[in-house]
Structures are given as structure tokens and as C-alpha cells.
């Protein structure tokens, strides 16, 4: 069976650039899968999606959608994909419902069928009362949902969602997440690009982390987190009792099984009256087994502990581990 999306040794070089925007990227997306494409700004995600949706011409390698080569037959590829862009690109000369109807007619869907589909999709996206609304009168969330409806009306094989919940309120975000999950049950393949690790972890069957135009790793979120060295965490809240943070970090790092210690929140107290410090310890193996040794060590040094809690690494930790902390 052919993959829904197959990218092999993809290269894109922009004429005025010194390096390749996409530099030998390869990955496969299976039918019906939700695939998260993660990467820092400028990593090559948008360019990759641009190539797969035929708006960017590739320099080398190959990209196919449902077996159709996007470079060789862009017209056929366009009927297999749909894109929900980050920025609103709805047709402002048409109202909400007409946006769906005309889009369907570009894709050759007959009159009665497109009217029925438009009604159903507007309802499903919570826009039933907005069918005559002008585009400029829609809120950000409504415009986003209308773009998803528009994307789905020609029954694409692969749906590309670019940063689906940027700028949405929590309600709208949840709504979009639910709709994406619906698509999974309908067997629509979804490729989503996002910076939101929580979103990627929640929605994606598998994620691929891209940086500098290359695929660093592809796996399920759980497997990626598990593969991270020091994937268990222990959050500690304590009063340092005269220890400065370097000394404290050194003290805890010496405990066998603790890989590294970070201070995510820094010091919480303001006046130094009772300064409490929060630390996160990244540990190998089962974090629970280290609670005892940590508590004992702190106790031996007269450090008061107010809380020790277990956690696990998140996709964000994997992302930072792979792509580094530098700003782009």
C-alpha cells in the first residue's frame, strides 16, 4: 500500500539563500495517521508543507501525495490535498457559506452535493448561524473553523494544518482538537505543524522533529519521551538554608541516578525572608526509587523540603534536547 505522504531526500534551495531551506529531508506518513511536524522557526517545516501542497517548487528529491508526484503532476496532487493556513486567506468578496460553495465548485463537486456538504460542515464546525456572515465579521476562531470546513469540503486525502491553534482561546482550541480527532476516526490523514508541544503530544500518532532542513527523529510521542536520557523527573521545593544554587545543584547531581538538575521557576520568595527554591531533577529509571535517597541527602544537609513530586519528561524536553536552547 502506498503511503499517504512520502518525502524522500527532499531539497529546497531558495535562489538568494546561502544554505538549503530543506536539506535532504525524508519521512513517510501512513494513511489515516495524524502526523506532527515539529521544529523551531526556520527549520524548514513551512517550506516542506509548501512543497507538498504544490506552492513551492522543489530543488531535488521527491515528494508524493497518495502516490502522485507533486512536482510532476501538481494538478492531480492539488485535488488530493487541502491546507488550513495560519493566516486567514478566505475570500472576502464572498460570505461564509459561499466560501465553501465556490471552493467545492473549483474541485468539481456538483451543485446539490456541495450545498448539502456545506450545510453539514457549517453545522459540524459550529458555524450554522454564520452562513451569511461576511468574512471580516468573523472572529479569529470562527475564521479558523471556516477554513477547516473549506479544506474538508472536497474530501482531501491529506489535510495540512499549519499551527492550528495559534491565537485561539482555550474553548476554540479544544473544539479544533476534537474536530481533528474526529478526522482520525474518519480515516483522513492529517499533517500538522506546530510549536505547541502539548498540542502535538495530544493529537499526533507520530511526530517528526525537523531542524536545519533535516529530520532529526520520527516516532510516537511516548517512545520519544521514553528514549530521552533522564526522562523521569522529580520536582523539589525546598529552603536552601544558606546553600547557593550552584552548590545545591552539585549536591543533588551527585546522587546516583540523577542526570541533571535545573531550576525552572527560580527562586520564588521575594525578600529573602524564607526563600523557597524550585528545582527539577531529571533522573534515569523509575523516579519513585530516588525519592528516599534525595530526601535523605537533603536532610543530612539541613535543607528543609516542603515538597517532592514525581513527574515525567514531556515532548518539550525531547524537543529542547534535540534542537538546543538557542534562540532562532
Amino acid at each position: 500500500m502506498t503511503a499517504a505522504v512520502e518525502v524522500a531526500d527532499l531539497v529546497k534551495h531558495y535562489p538568494k539563500s546561502t544554505r538549503n531551506a530543506v536539506d535532504g529531508l525524508s519521512f513517510r506518513v501512513r494513511h489515516g495517521e495524524i502526523f506532527g511536524l515539529l521544529g523551531p522557526n526556520g527549520a524548514g517545516k513551512t517550506t516542506t508543507v509548501g512543497i507538498l501542497t504544490t506552492r513551492i517548487v522543489l530543488t531535488g528529491g521527491s515528494a508524493t501525495i497518495g502516490g502522485v508526484d507533486v512536482a510532476r503532476d501538481p494538478v492531480a496532487a492539488r485535488s488530493k490535498v487541502a491546507v488550513v493556513p495560519q493566516r486567514v486567506n478566505l475570500d472576502r468578496s464572498l460570505n461564509a457559506r459561499q466560501n465553501l460553495l465556490f471552493h467545492a465548485s473549483y474541485h468539481g463537486i456538483g451543485r446539490s452535493e456541495r450545498h448539502a456538504l456545506a450545510t453539514r460542515l457549517m453545522e459540524r464546525m459550529g458555524l450554522a448561524d454564520k452562513s451569511k456572515a461576511r468574512i471580516d465579521d468573523l472572529s479569529g476562531g470562527q475564521a479558523q473553523r471556516l477554513m477547516i470546513a473549506r479544506a474538508l469540503i472536497h474530501r482531501p486525502e491529506v489535510l495540512f494544518l499549519d499551527e492550528p491553534s495559534t491565537g485561539l482561546d482555550p474553548q476554540a482550541r479544544l473544539f479544533v482538537h476534537d474536530r481533528v480527532n474526529d478526522l482520525r476516526s474518519e480515516g483522513v490523514t492529517v499533517v500538522l505543524t506546530t510549536h505547541d508541544m502539548e498540542e502535538a503530544e495530544k493529537l499526533s500518532d507520530r511526530v517528526g522533529v525537523v531542524d536545519h532542513g533535516r529530520m532529526l527523529t520520527v516516532d510516537t510521542p511516548t517512545a520519544l519521551i521514553r528514549s530521552l536520557p533522564g526522562s523521569g523527573t522529580i520536582d523539589a521545593r525546598l529552603r536552601p538554608n544558606g546553600f547557593d544554587s550552584d552548590k545545591l545543584t552539585g549536591l543533588l547531581s551527585d546522587i546516583p541516578g540523577v542526570r541533571r538538575v535545573e531550576a525552572p521557576g527560580g527562586s520564588t520568595a521575594l525578600d529573602g525572608v524564607s526563600p523557597e527554591t524550585e528545582l527539577r531533577l531529571y533522573v534515569d529509571g523509575e523516579p519513585g526509587s530516588l525519592l528516599g535517597p534525595i530526601a535523605a541527602k537533603l536532610h543530612d544537609n539541613d535543607i528543609t523540603v516542603s515538597d517532592l513530586s514525581l513527574g515525567s519528561a514531556s515532548l518539550e524536553d525531547v524537543f529542547i534536547e534535540l534542537t538546543g536552547r538557542d534562540l532562532r
Binding site: 494538478v75 493566516r87 478566505l90 475570500d91 468578496s93 465556490f102 473549483y106 468539481g108 473549506r150
Partner: protein
């Protein structure tokens, strides 16, 4: 015919249908946009100045074919270029059509053709308005078919130049587009004067020869008013066909450059 070609043809008609639908909805503003300027020009130069005795009696007759030509060319040009500049910049509305299952070249051709339709429509409207305003029009009706041919070609060239300009002008330059492109085109297109009589002003005659509108005006005037000195019809026809091909190719090239990265 392959399935892809069939779906491309269907998509082409749907994209054209969208533009027709939108124009229908915006009819009043479209009419204002295409009629106010030429009607004002015709009224001042053809009627007011004539009645005050500042222009010779036959001038209005010379002006009318020129105004029809001007409308065909300029309305087509403006209606192709302005929406395109916006489409490619902040509205990005055109993306939906660039992702429709048809070759991108066809989207460019559709834009050009539709601009030409609007130009043609605006030019046709000038016929009854001119007749009403000027009262009597002494046209040689045997020249009407050739005049209409020039008008059609004029609209097509207008659409082609509009596609070229619209895809080439960056959005932040749109405000100077009127000053440096449209105004010179309006006044060097022989629509207010017969080009053939410019021999006393040789340099200006040469400048006008570079404006495609000159050939629309001269072709129409020569056909409808054969007694007024005019350019040979075959020259007009050849120049317009040439301009169609050159600007059409250039416009499609620029459009593809903007539509694809």
C-alpha cells in the same frame, strides 16, 4: 481527454464563475468605477468646451471613439492589476484558486480574460452614453465590425498589461502606480487626439507609438470616421496582436513567479 484536463476545464469555469458572481454583486460600485471618469472627460471636452467655443465643432466626434477605446483598455488594465496586487499581498485570497485542480497558468489566463470582459463591458456602455450626450454621431457604420475588433483586442491587451503590472508591482508601490503608469497611459494613447496629425510634435508622436492604447484609438477612429487622418488599419491590428502576445507571455511569467516559490 484525460481526467486531469477535464477537471482543469471544470475548475477554470468555476473560477471564472466566481469572478462573474462577485462582479454581479458589486455592480453599482463597478459602474461608478468604470463610468465616472470617461463620462466626465467626454462631458468637459466634448460638450462644455464645445459650447463655450474653445474646441472646434467636430472635436466631440473625434473624442467619442477615443473614449470608448480608453475605457476598453484602461478598465481591463485596472480591473486585472489592482485586485492582483492586493491578492498577492495582504488578502492572499487568490490562494484558494491557486490550490484548485487546474494549472496555475490557467488561473493567470482567467484573471486576464476576466479583466478583458470587464473592459469590454465598460466600452460597450460608452456607446449609448456617448450617443445620448453628444446628440448626433456621424459614424460610418460599415467600419463598425473593425472598430469592435479593435475594442475586443484593446480589452485583451489591457488585461495582459494589467496582469504584467499587477504581478510585477509590489504592494507598497501601489500608490505610485497611478502616477507613473496609469496617468501616462491615459494621455499618450491618442484617445483625445488623432495620432496621425501629430507630425508637428514628432517626439510626442513617437512616445504615443509605444502605448498600445494608441492603436485601439486609431483603429476605432479610422474605422468609424474614415475622413479623419488615421493610422493604417493593418498596423493597428498587427500592433495589438503583438502587444497581446508580448504582454500576455510577460504577465503569465510574472504571475507564475509570484504564485510559486
Amino acid at each position: 481527454m484525460t481526467g486531469t484536463t477535464q477537471s482543469s476545464i471544470r475548475a477554470f469555469w468555476a473560477v471564472l464563475g466566481r469572478d462573474v458572481f462577485v462582479t454581479g454583486r458589486e455592480m453599482p460600485s463597478f459602474l461608478a468605477q468604470v463610468l465616472v471618469q470617461p463620462v466626465a472627460l467626454l462631458f468637459i471636452f466634448g460638450k462644455v468646451l464645445g459650447q463655450l467655443g474653445y474646441t472646434q465643432p467636430g472635436y466631440a466626434q473625434i473624442l467619442l471613439p477615443g473614449m470608448i477605446a480608453l475605457n476598453s483598455f484602461l478598465v481591463a488594465l485596472q480591473n486585472t492589476s489592482f485586485p492582483l496586487v492586493l491578492d498577492f499581498s495582504f488578502s492572499r485570497e487568490i490562494e484558494d484558486r491557486l490550490l484548485a485542480p487546474l494549472p496555475i497558468t490557467w488561473v493567470a489566463v482567467e484573471k486576464m480574460l476576466f479583466g478583458a470582459f470587464r473592459g469590454l463591458f465598460a466600452a460597450l456602455l460608452m456607446f449609448p452614453i456617448g450617443l445620448l450626450m453628444l446628440g448626433n454621431v456621424a459614424w460610418d457604420l460599415s467600419g463598425l465590425p473593425f472598430a469592435v475588433l479593435c475594442m475586443v483586442l484593446g480589452s485583451l491587451v489591457g488585461g495582459a498589461v494589467g496582469l504584467t503590472v499587477g504581478a510585477a508591482v509590489p504592494p507598497r508601490r501601489i500608490n505610485i502606480m497611478f502616477a507613473v503608469i496609469l496617468a501616462p497611459l491615459i494621455f499618450t494613447g491618442a484617445s483625445q487626439f488623432p495620432w496621425a496629425q501629430l507630425d508637428q510634435l514628432r517626439w510626442f508622436q513617437v512616445v504615443c507609438a509605444f502605448n498600445p492604447l494608441t492603436y485601439v484609438s486609431e483603429g476605432m477612429r479610422g474605422a468609424l470616421l474614415p475622413n479623419v487622418p488615421h493610422m493604417a488599419p493593418w498596423v493597428c491590428l498587427l500592433a495589438l496582436l503583438g502587444a497581446c502576445v508580448i504582454f500576455g507571455a510577460l504577465g503569465i511569467k510574472f504571475f507564475l513567479r509570484r504564485a510559486l516559490d
